[in-house]
Each structure stands twice: as C-alpha cells, then as structure tokens.
Assembly symmetry: C2
Homo-oligomer: 482 residues x 2
C-alpha cells in the first residue's frame, strides 16, 4: 500500500548514520517493568546504550526517536565527535570550573563564541548574550527590550531620581507599565515574564499572577498552504490589523508595547505556520510603532527547518532586533542588534550567564552540521517526511471514502512542515494519545502539541531511510487503529 | 603589627590544600595587557592553570580567590576529585546526552539524587526539584507557592471553566492577584518574577515592569550582634510587626500574600544578618497567616556558613516550606514539603529541568566535604577570619584615635559573619572600589555588596593559613591606603 515510498527507498542516494543501530527493537511495552512511572516521567532511559536516532530505555527497548528530548538533541545520542571532545584533556577544565561568565570569562571564550554562536549569527546581528536556558533567554531579551524602549523614551538621558527610587519598590515610573505583545497559541517559557507571553495551554498558566499585556491572534491557516493562498492571506491580514489595533489600544491604556515576541512556527501551541509575508509585514508594523521585534527560535532554531534559523525562510536582511535560542543550540541565549545592548554593565546579568562547556559542544555540533551538510539532509528528509504524511492522509481518507469504514478517518488533512519540523493533526485528543502510545510500543517516539497535533522533531541526522522506516511503522499503526 | 594573628599562624593545626599553589604571584596589574576590558568583565582567566583557592589570569597573575565566581565554586579550582570524575568513561554519556529530565530521566538519576541533593535535604523535606539556575529555581518555587495557595483556596476542587479560560489571557481569576512578600535589600534573581522580590540595587530593576507586591523592612542590626542584643531585638520586633501589617494590608487590597521569601543572610544587599529568633518568629507569622515560607539559600547554602544550610543556625525542625539553592550546589533547584508538590504533572516543568552532569559533580563535592570535614574547617577558618577583621577594625581605629591621622578611619566597625561568609563595611563606595582594586593588584580577589560592604566568599577549602595570608596582605593595603 505504500508503493511510492517503498520505491523511493531503493532509488534515493542514502547517507548512513554509521554509529547507530539498524532499527527499533522492542522487548517490553513502554514504560517497561524497570521504569517507575511518576508525574510527567514517560520512562527511564539508558543513555549509555542510546546511539544516533535511537533512544534505549532501562528495559532494553530501542526506539527511533522522533521527539529528541523535546527537540533538544541536535546530532543524535552519543555522537562520536562529542565523545571525542570529552576525551581531550585540554577540555576538562571547562567542565570542572564553571565561571561567572559575565565577569571572569575563560581566555578562550571570545574564540569559542566566534567559532560557535557568532558563526551562525542571524543577518544583521553581531552580538550575542549567552544564558543557561530558554526561559532565561527570553526573560533577559524582554528586559533588553524594556531597557532599550525606556532609554529611547528618555532621550538616552540619565534616569531621574524618581525613576531610581520608585523602581526599588516596584512602582512606576521606575518600573514602568510597559508591555510585550504576544500571540494566542504562543509558547515562550514558564517563568513569570515569559509566562505572560505564553498562551498555549491552561495548565501552564493557571494560578500564576500575570501582566495585562496585549495578545494578538496568530493566523489560523489552512493546509497545505499552497492550496489556500487567498484564504490564508486574508486571515493573515486580519491578524495584522488586530496587531496594529492592539498596539494603539495598549498605548492609550498607558501600557505601551515595548516589544513583540513571536515564534516562526508556533510549536508547543500546535505547529501553527504563517507565511514569510506575514512575518515581513509584522516586522514592519513593529518598526512603524517603535516596538522591538523579538523572534523566539528556541524550538525552531538549529537547523531542523532545513535552514539554520527558521526566520531565514522569510528572506530578510533585517529579520529581527532580537533572536533567542536554546535547546539544539545546547546553551540558551539571544542575539541582538547593537542598539539593544543594555547601556550599562550589570543590567543584563546573573551568576553563570550560560555555561562554556555547552559552547564547546556547540562548536563541535556546528562542525558536524557543516562537514556532513546536515541542513541539506534535513531539507531532503523533510521533503520525504512531508510527502509521506500527505500520502498517509490521502491513503486513510481514500479508505474512508471508498467505504472501507472499519478504519475511521484519523488524520484530518493538516499535514504541514518545514524541513523535518513537521506535524499532522489527529481527529481528537484521545485518538492522539492512543496513537502516541501504540507508536511507542512499536519503537517510535513522538510528541504531541496543541490540541490534537502530533509533532515530529527528529535530530538533524534523521535521514531518508529513517523517514521510510518511520512511515512504514506509522502506516501499520494507523491501519490497525480502531 | 599583627602579632596576635602571626602567633596563631604557627600554633594552630594546619590542614593543607595539597593540589594548589603556595601563595599569590603577581606579574602585572589586573586587568593585564592580555585581558580586554568590556562591560562587566573584570579580566580573562586561565582556568587550566587555576588550582584550589588560586585563580590565574591570562597574564599569569595568580590571585587568592576570596570571591569564587560570585560564591559559586565549592571546593576550589580543578579539584582532583572532579578531574578524576571526568576521566571515568562511565560518566561521559551524562555530559554528552543532556536529557529532558522531567520526562526521560537517566536510569541512574534517582540514585544520583539520593547521593547528592537528597543526602543534604533540609529538615522536614524529602522532595527536591532540580532547575538550571538560581533564578529559575526561585521562579518555579514562587509558582509552586501560588499553585499551593490557590488549591487550598478552592478546597482542592477542580478549577472552574472561568479559571481556565481567563488564565489563557492573563486575567483573573485564572491568573489571580496573588503576591509574594519580600524584604528591602533582598536579592532573589533578575527574571521578572524574581526581580519583583529583589530590592538591592536600582540598576537591577530600573525600566522593568513589576508587580505590586508587599516589601517589608529587613532588620538593620548593629554589629557585633552580641554587643547590641537589646537594640537589635527591638529592631527585629519592629520589622516583624510591619510584616504582619503588610500581610493584612495586601489581603485587604485583594492581593493576598501566597508566600514570603527571605535570605538567611541578605547577600547582594550588603550582608545583612538577622537573629535565629527573627527567622523563627517570621516562620510562625507565615504559618499563622497561611503563607508559604520560602528560604532562598542560593548564596548561603552549600556549607559556607559552617553548616550546610544557613537556616540550620536557627535550630528548627520545620524551618521552611521551600528552600531554593544554586551556585555552590552546581545545579539550581528547590526542596519543598510534600504539600507544595504541584497537583498535576507539567505545572512545574521545562525542557531540561536541570542538568544531570551537575548532579554528578555535586555528589563528588559532597563526598569531599564529608571526607575532609570541610564544614568544621569552614567554621574554624571563619572564626579566624572574623577575629582578624575585628582586629583590623580596632587596629585602624586605634591609629585614628592616637592621632596617626595620615591613615583615615577606613573600616566602620561592622565586621560580621557566619563561617567564612563574612563582610566588613568601608567608609564610602569610592574607598571600597579603591581597596578592591589594590587588593586585586596584591593578589587578593574580593567582591563588594550593598552600598559600602566588602564580602568574603571563599571556597570551602579556604583554610586558616589562607585567612592569615589574606589578613597580612589586607592589613598592608589598609595601612598604606590614602
């Protein structure tokens, strides 16, 4: 039934991941007897035995990992290049002596930054600030935008005595009523500042005090995007209009929008896409109204969309004022334009300010990405994956329409993606849960997002043959689903 | 001139740090020619050559480190036990494969937790949540307190539809108007939630939106504490009264206090101490008013006060509902009582939830602390340090009163400390800056805190002979200060 894909499998050029296993291998259902199931824990892992795209659990089950620790493993488990780095005695000190990077950086740190983060800096940005995780990156990016906005407002003059005294007790004007605009469905982290811009699931936000900040609608597009260009353009225009209205409204409220934060693809919120044109227009609206424009690439960054940054798909020289990252970059942080640099030392600061040992790994990850042309690989695997998902949708639907009604119509025709950053929608949440569990027991690890989406977040070494292996197993699961 | 101390030096039992250098060795002024001086950066370091209590910079200057990366290096640089841990091939995988700890922990993680964090759990606490840094630890601790408070308020019933829908758009009742009480002079981090409870320096807070949360006065005590017990008790009573008034006032305002957060010694805010009795009373007030009690041990924890946790000096079986940590513990996180456990998975969550490689180091640090009885060492070094600081104060004052007026009265008689967590006050900020720079050029690294304090934050392997070495050099600096 999967002829197109099976044919492809023998004709495309294959690149292998030579340090990994040759397929899933299941010994028990998961979680198995040796995994204790507590809270959010899925199961316990044997990271020593995990290789490449395969995660091994404590019961010896070996699963093809299409979720990669919530999209945070760039080049698979136990990559030889990273193990080799660990065996170099010159690197030991970086692991053992974690510095207060903001005041006492290692001699080699500027070079490490040049080799790692700065070598993949987004267009127009030559500055980067490292942080320990994604939330801290966004929190500090927001602070950088607030500081920038207020400095602009006071004409770069010294803050008044009133500013200084009121800020100490959390009051305006020192702690001003500024806001960050975010979008419904967004996820930017869970610390209190970030959480005020996160609107993906109630469980993240319930019971936590927040800020009265504007929330714009994110376009709800129809997929495949190419088939619905006109409807989608209308929907995007509606959202952009609302963005401008909200900026004006919040200015009138006395809570001006200092910055707008957005994901290039809303991930946690359900893999919601928007067109390059939408983002270009939004960037212009931000500029027009004097708001900083912050692109959150914590989940989209690092190559999984087939470009190193998802915003590169927009084709802009000046895509953003701030780009934050974490996950696949192994260290958190944000790039920023010169003018977003805080005017004084210690305004953006904490004890660790990141972790140089993570930059060391990142340098090596970037070497592997370049040496093995992994972005091209991702683009190729991504095409195979998305085509396979399209076929599955049609396949299942065909069955439904040809009255093979013992299989319900499970997939709802919303397959979408960029690179291997793909998703499909399932008819309802219960079916999704059931499919995710069945897939896991067949040796395929997947994750959910949004209300009824399944997200694909493989490592950058997920090749076409992994795609086919996945599609064959997944097809079986769907076919047998009752 | 330092006879008392010099005598001691030859009579006390000496324990050596056998992997370190025998003293400071300065080749240039600091920052030297190879250090670029940008923003907050003090100078660039050669961590490979640093050993024990000695930090070496890129120009080959070797300094006795009494600041230890803002108090975050527990057992000195390049400790052999930590280097050995790195050379164990069984540990490599933990560094190379960072998991999403909340969902896919390594098989060994429960044991690692038992060996590390849980082996030093505060009294009454059997649960710990790891996080990546101090700010994230406090942010999540605050969330845990809000969740606990609201669950209590709604009688542990399911949240209403209105709760669920309003929280998605940052509005009450889903995002309730709850508050965290903090103290003037406090420092709890710089992300937006933490920052609303930080009140140490304007530069941290200026231009960042905040919450209208109550801020109580922290006792301003006179030192040495033993000499001013009556005045200090009065001052503490005044502050405690204000705490209760504020709790009532904020409840009436509709912003009830869900939790009270406090440092056992206000560190960044100027090494402000309070008595065990103050903290015991505060803990009781929190209980009486149904507020959670959160002790922030990010800077005080890990042994530097001569006990593993500073709150142990209060002598309580039930010192807190939450104790947060980071820095010397190498991983962030917080301990909490059972009832502060969030009622559902994913309420307290993020991608990494800490970093198991840091727990691996921590296990070994704790082994070293036990094996070498470092808490007793800290208590002994701390007594020598505080006595030395008392002598210096008197010494300088004597000179001033005996009309040797070419030396001004530099120290203001406020030497204070617990273990090696000590501080002195200098007459003014400019003098402090000058003394810190002079000390650095003589091979002694110190830090400032508050408006005019110098804080001492050596590693736990700072022995009595390091104290004497420091005191001799510091005495010279003060004597020559103009």
């Amino acid at each position: 039934m999967f002829n197109g894909l099976l044919n492809q499998r023998t004709t495309v050029p294959q690149t292998q991941v030579d340090f990994e296993y040759d397929g899933p291998c299941m010994k028990t259902s998961v979680p198995g007897p040796r995994s204790q199931n507590v809270g959010a824990i899925n199961f316990f892992c044997n990271y020593e035995e995990s290789r490449g795209n395969y995660l091994v659990d404590v019961d010896g089950n070996r699963m093809l990992d299409v979720y990669t620790q919530i999209s945070s493993i760039p080049i698979g488990y136990n990559h030889p290049a990273l193990l080799k780095l660990m065996s170099n005695p010159n690197n030991l000190s970086t692991f053992v002596n974690r510095p207060a990077l903001g005041i006492l950086p290692p001699e080699t740190f500027p070079d490490t930054l040049t080799d790692s983060l700065l070598s993949v800096a987004p267009s127009g940005m030559t500055r980067v600030q490292t942080m320990a995780c994604g939330s801290c990156s966004n929190e500090n990016a927001y602070k950088a935008m607030f500081i920038w906005y207020k400095n602009k407002e006071r004409g770069h003059n010294t803050p008044s005595d009133e500013d200084v005294s009121t800020c100490m007790v959390n009051q305006a004007p020192g702690c001003p009523d500024l806001s960050i605009m975010s979008f419904m469905g967004a996820f930017h982290g869970r610390t209190l500042g970030c959480l005020a811009t996160t609107h993906s699931k109630a469980i993240h936000k319930l019971d936590v005090p927040s800020f009265d900040w504007p929330i714009a609608p994110f376009p709800r597009l129809r997929y495949p995007l190419e088939q619905f260009t006109r409807e989608n353009a209308q929907e995007e225009a509606r959202c952009l209009e609302e963005v401008e209205d909200l900026i004006v409204k919040w200015r009138q409220k006395g809570k001006p929008v200092a910055g707008i934060v957005i994901e290039p693809i809303q991930a946690e919120g359900g893999d919601n896409h928007a067109s390059p044109n939408f983002f270009r227009s939004l960037r212009n609206i931000a500029r027009k109204h004097g708001c900083a424009f912050h692109v959150d690439e914590v989940q989209t960054g690092g190559g999984c969309t087939g470009k190193f940054w998802a915003h590169e798909h927009w084709g802009m020289d000046d895509p953003a004022d701030i780009v934050s990252f974490s996950k696949k970059l192994l260290t958190g942080g944000y790039y920023h334009k010169d003018e977003l640099q805080a005017d004084k030392a210690y305004r953006i600061f904490n004890t660790w300010m990141g972790d140089p040992s993570k930059n060391l790994f990142l340098s090596e990850v970037l070497n592997v990405i370049r040496r093995e042309s992994l972005l091209e690989e991702v683009a190729r695997s991504g095409r195979a994956l998305l085509n396979g998902l399209y076929e599955l949708q049609v396949c299942i639907r065909k069955r439904a329409t040809s009255f093979t009604i013992i299989y319900p119509s499970i997939l709802t025709g919303r397959a979408r993606g960029q690179g291997t950053f793909c998703a499909i929608d399932v008819c309802d949440d219960a079916t999704r849960t059931s499919i995710l569990l069945k897939a896991r027991n067949k040796g395929i690890l997947l994750g959910g997002c949004g209300e009824r989406s399944i997200r694909f977040r493989p490592a950058l070494i997920f090749k076409e043959y992994h795609v086919h292996l996945f599609l064959n197993i997944f097809n079986d699961i769907l076919a047998k689903h009752k």
